[in-house]
Amino acid sequence: MPTPQLPSEVLAMMRRGVSAIVASRDADLRPSLMRAMATRVGEDGAGITVYLARSQAGQVLQDIAANGHIAVVFSEPSTHRTVQVKATRVQVRQAGASDEAAVARYLASMERELAHVYIPAPLTRAMLACRLEDLVAVSFVPEYAFDQTPGPQAGTRLPGMRA
């Protein structure tokens, strides 16, 4: 498995907890997507977990389970700094008590992030409202990463990723 090398500031942003949207596609190449209710990113960025609510993300979860293809965009609302990571192999499991702290930490981070762009905390809490028993943890090692901060350079593949 290749070692992903995300720029440190990008990795710091992802680890802190920013907006994350998960996409996949079905056998007919029909795309599916849903916002992650929480994320957890390992120190080196090699281990990424996104939490999806089963009640909201049925199609995405079905597609991921069927073909392993996943794309996740992370974006810092106040700066628009954005990165997309992709993988073709995932591990899926039911979230449990060991994930509770990560989910809570993510919500707290998102409340701060979105407050910077004047989105009130009650709206953020409604957006990310979820029950642990409804959450599915999808883990993967990024195989590709792209700078997606708005601008002409958006789409540039970040160095150090699998060719």
């Binding site: 949207i21 190449l29 599916s32 849903m34 909201q56 997606q148």
Partner: protein, 446 residues
């Protein structure tokens, strides 16, 4: 859960919380990206801004299926649009409407110079999915918009002149819509300019000021026959203020000297311009603006379009009936002109008229004034009719459909503001009187 219609979730397209789009490459790799703009086209279609040749772009050209996630900005409810790419438009009403809106978004998000609309990608909306969640309760719907349209309709129906109709529209916007700054401009089709005939909320009325076709949100709304709405401050759509040169009596730079300053806000944050149309023709533009962001939503746009429709029909109706024969009003002895004479000068090259050294009016309205003054000098007449103006070739009304009534409103208002002791007063349908409180001396300049 029953599937919502696009109209039900239009508020999600206002861009408060950015939308996200998933596509899939031909090799099966999904892609997910933020999108600047999801634009409501109609109940079955949305348009997305095409700004860069990026992965999303490559994917939809190869595989037209896409999914867009939207969030309700008041409740945080999620929606998914399942859409299919149809075509890209690079000019026309949709493109221009999106371009103006994108300019506001770019400026608001610090992306000036980064966001540039290359095309409007039009998608068919195949399905709208309400995603389960725990949204906040929906705030009470904004009330009174329909009632405001009703009030405007009632007021317009009572109007017997264009003057009154313009006042009725602006008063409705002020009284029921909370609009603080607005204006109505009429199209001079021959000159391809729009001239202000009425305004409210500005330091100067700006009546007579001109906007070029295609200039700013007003000019784009007229040229493209589409509403144009900008929700944030943007330099891209500011109106250039012409430099005013000093007046030189014998060789004035008529183009510069006859510019009436545009009255609008120097730093508007929200702007909304809708074309005033009737029978398929653009008659003018109804325009409102605000120094604050996000003042005009899609409901304001809907309302303004409805009001503009009423105004367009009213203008057309008045145009058709102002020349109806009517008994001449009883002659009123004109008040005797007294005092030092006013010096009036006319420049034939653009029909501009100056009172002393002060620019008053030009164009068709200037030609009308000059005719009235000359007829008065030669024949002592003070009573005139629209019909004779229309028949007088020297005035140069381009054709019968040209809005004479609007020219008279412009002339009357300019005279009230800058005409010294000259007035024209409406005396009946299609009739008016020239009132001179002081003697005048007329000079023709080349």
């Amino acid at each position: 859960m029953s599937e919502p219609q696009l109209g039900d979730i239009r508020i999600c397209l206002e861009g408060v919380i950015p939308a996200v789009m998933a596509t899939c490459a031909a090799d099966g790799m999904p892609n997910v990206a933020y999108i600047s703009q999801v634009y409501y086209v109609d109940e079955r279609h949305v348009a997305l801004s095409f700004q860069f040749f990026n992965k999303t772009r490559q994917n939809i050209l190869a595989n037209p299926r896409a999914s867009v996630q939207l969030i309700h900005p008041q409740t945080a409810a999620f929606y998914r649009l399942h859409i299919r790419y149809l075509r890209t438009e690079t000019q026309g009403p949709l493109f221009e409407g999106m371009k103006a809106q994108l300019a506001g978004i770019a400026s608001h998000t610090g992306m000036q110079g980064v966001f540039r609309l290359l095309g409007s990608d039009v998608y068919e909306v195949e399905r709208i999915e309400a995603v389960p969640g725990a949204p906040l309760p929906l705030p009470a719907p904004r009330s009174g918009m329909l009632a405001a349209v009703r009030r405007c309709s009632e007021r317009l129906a009572r109007c017997a002149s264009l003057d009154e109709a313009l006042n009725a529209v602006l008063a409705t916007l002020t009284d029921f819509m909370g609009v603080e700054h607005g204006m109505v401009l009429m199209l001079d089709d021959a000159a391809q300019r729009l001239y202000t005939v009425a305004s409210c909320g500005y330091a100067t009325s700006g009546v007579g000021s001109e906007v070029l076709m295609g200039e700013g949100v007003i000019g784009v709304a007229a040229r493209e026959r589409t509403p144009v709405r900008v929700s944030h401050m943007t330099n891209a759509y500011l109106y250039s203020q012409a430099m005013r040169s000093s007046f030189e009596a014998n060789i004035p730079d008529l183009e510069a000297v006859t510019q009436i300053p545009y009255p609008g806000l120097a730093e508007p944050h929200s702007q909304l311009a809708v074309p005033v149309m009737s029978a398929g023709k653009v008659l003018g533009v109804l325009f409102v603006e605000s120094p604050h962001d996000l003042q005009f939503g899609f409901e304001d746009e809907d309302m303004l379009v409805a009001v503009a429709g009423h105004l367009g029909a009213t203008i057309d109706l008045m145009q058709a009936t102002t020349d109806a024969p009517e008994a001449a009003p009883p002659a009123i002895a004109p008040s005797p002109a007294a005092g030092a004479p006013l010096q009036l000068r006319h420049y034939a090259s653009n029909d501009s008229v100056f009172v002393g050294d002060t620019y008053l009016i030009k164009g068709v309205a200037g030609a009308i004034l000059w005719k009235l003054l000359n007829d008065h000098r030669r024949e002592g007449r003070t009573e005139f009719s629209n019909r004779e103006l229309r028949l007088d070739a020297s005035i140069g009304l381009p054709d019968v459909s040209d809005n004479l009534e609007a020219r008279l409103v412009l002339l009357r208002r300019r005279l009230e503001e800058h005409g010294g002791d000259i007035r024209i007063e409406k005396t009946g349908r299609g009739r008016f009187r020239l009132d001179l409180a002081r003697p005048v001396v007329l000079t023709e300049s080349s």
